[in-house]
């Protein structure tokens, strides 16, 4: 027989009350865990989706010239007549501290060419990187091989060209292997070819006009990545596409703020449930506590009994709450998202956090009832019998 026996037996006797406290805490903990896991998963999901918007860092030659526009975004000093970046230097980007956050690195050679008396912007690109950098591209036909090109939808219409047509650019015969479906961007106006082909046409072997970087920035500060790339490419100007970065960060921040706010309210309600129920329980047990005190239990022993009961219930609530919240988050994700159903990773720190938070909540909320119980005067308590 120990104080633990008394706590456990009392909980078993007052199953209803213990169940009520347990339910209150489980609802609180599972909601918080559910929201946090859901927000976390949603953040991943949003990040995945945002990454589909392509590049978020641009590397352009350092220049004092006026800015040009590309893709509706201010790019800074891209100038075809200016000095270019050496393609080989780009490899240094893979050596930066956050290199693993670089999802794709797409070098680009730009130049103006004449096709049937039309001046057209031609871009040499790395089509493998373009799959990540320009996920909105849908090519009718095939991705170009050497000496092949694909045309933007608008360029194909104006130049009156279609798949398998032949064009000559700077005495080089090229075949149209595909046409881009309309993108609504400046890409509709361009002719695209392989990087090497463009470098040959523009006589810019081993040089590039600019490079686009898709950085996965859930866990990395993009400004820091910009600095890291600048450090390894001192001759280039590196900049983040602020609109995309800001929208990502703001969305995540809003989600987090919302989740913390809801969590706080729910935890407050949970702690009130524990407080009120424990107070009721202490009042009901006045006689019992009076007997304990009369036979020599110290105040500390009474508090220990109450705290032990709170610990048992809240620890259990933490465990049940975590798994319930985890399951709820998976279900919610399955219902509310399309691409990542059930993609809620088990997070050990969240599980431990849930149990610790439930324990803290239970103990803090029980502190006042335990204090009141310990202060019961045995003589007064027994007189009420």
């Amino acid at each position: 027989m120990t104080l633990k026996t008394i706590s456990i037996k009392n909980l078993l006797r007052r199953k209803g009350k213990a169940g009520f406290i347990l339910a209150g805490l489980v609802i609180g903990v599972s909601t918080v865990v559910g929201i946090m896991a859901f927000v976390d998963a949603m953040a991943n999901d949003i990040n995945h989706k945002l990454e589909k918007y392509g590049a978020n860092i641009l590397i352009v030659p350092r220049t004092e010239n006026l800015a040009l526009s590309y893709g509706g975004l201010a790019l800074g000093g891209v100038s075809f007549e200016m000095k270019e970046i050496q393609e080989i230097e780009l490899a240094r980007v893979k050596t930066i501290k956050n290199a693993r956050n670089v999802a794709a690195l797409g070098p680009l050679v730009l130049g103006v060419v004449s096709v049937d008396s039309h001046k057209v912007l031609m871009a040499g690109v790395d089509f493998k990187a373009a799959e990540i950098l320009k996920p909105w591209w849908h090519v009718q036909g095939a991705v170009p091989e050497e000496n092949e090109v694909i045309l933007g939808a608008e360029a194909a219409r104006i130049l009156n060209l279609s798949i398998d047509d032949k064009i000559t650019i700077k005495d080089k015969k090229l075949v149209v292997s595909g046409v881009l479906q309309p993108t609504g961007s400046q890409d509709d106006q361009l002719i695209f070819t392989r990087l090497v082909t463009a470098q040959t046409i523009f006589n810019k072997s081993g040089k590039i006009s600019m490079a686009e970087v898709a950085a996965l920035c859930k866990d990395c500060p993009i400004d820091s990545m910009v600095k890291q790339i600048s450090d390894v490419l001192p001759g280039a100007k590196v900049m983040a596409i602020q609109q995309i970065v800001k929208s990502r960060m703001e969305t995540l921040a809003q989600f987090k703020k919302f989740s913390y706010g809801i969590s706080g309210v729910i935890l407050l309600i949970g702690s009130l449930v524990v407080l009120v129920t424990m107070m009721g329980s202490v009042r009901e047990r006045t006689d019992e506590i009076g007997i304990f005190r009369a036979i020599g239990f110290r105040k500390g022993h009474i508090m220990k009994i109450i705290f032990m009961e709170a610990s048992i219930v809240s620890g259990l609530a933490g465990i049940i709450g975590y798994f319930t919240g985890f399951g709820a988050a998976r279900a919610a994700l399955f219902i509310f998202t399309e691409n990542h159903p059930g993609d809620v990773p088990f997070r050990f720190e969240l599980a431990v956090g849930a149990v610790v938070a439930a324990l803290m909540l239970g103990l803090i909320s029980s502190a006042y009832p335990a204090f009141m119980a310990s202060r019961l005067d045995p003589n007064e308590a027994l007189r009420s019998l």
Binding site: M1, I6, R293, A294, G296, R298, L382
Partner: protein, 258 residues
Amino acid sequence: MSYIIGNNLVKKYGEGEIAVSAIDGINFEIEEGEFVGIMGESGSGKSTLLGMMGAMNAPTSGSLMVDDIDIYSLSQEQRADFRREFLGFVFQSFHLVSYLTVIENIMLPLAIIKAGKKKKRAMAEAAMNQVGLSGKAHRLPSQISGGEKERVAIARAIVNEPPVLLADEPTGNLDTKTSHDIMELLHRLNDEGMTIVMVTHSPDCAGYALRIMRVTDGKLVDDNFKLRSLKRWLKKEKSKEPFPNQNQVLVAGSLPTG
């Protein structure tokens, strides 16, 4: 030197003009191994006096010494320790913890002492045997009779072998036969050396005490009330009752005819 000494004990409830004296300057001495009964009318202050001896009800003034310890000079927590070490309590209405089994109720005072599981169990079983409760260890209080509940309460009070047992109306809720058994049990414990102080209304129970202290209006009117005096006093008390017994009522009325 006496074992329990009450020195000019006063207990007042309220303050100023509305103050009520529950105990009004009581002095007494109880020797080690004595069996003392405390008698008095309802509200006379006998339970308050017992509460004082139990280190649970501090006097407004005066002192109470037990085994040379001035009980009310101790802190509340020290008084709790004193109750655990020195006193066993038997309450008026058993006051068992309903969700604990018989043996768990008996082991309650042992829950806070440092001893192994086996030792605690052995102590509880010894107390159970002493009060004649063998075979009922795992029953709940709701599954045993009133007499058995009283035995559990006594076993709980003596499980840690305290030198003093305080009993407040230990037979108040029991029939005559069971009351007699319980009193025999207390008598035996006293024979074994335990000091017993018992509050009772019952002259039969009081008859088991070696000495009777009579309390009226918070004053100790007799410190050594002998059994013969007790019977005389009881007779006087009974005569004050409007219907002392059924026979008198029948004699005073008219019996139905035909």
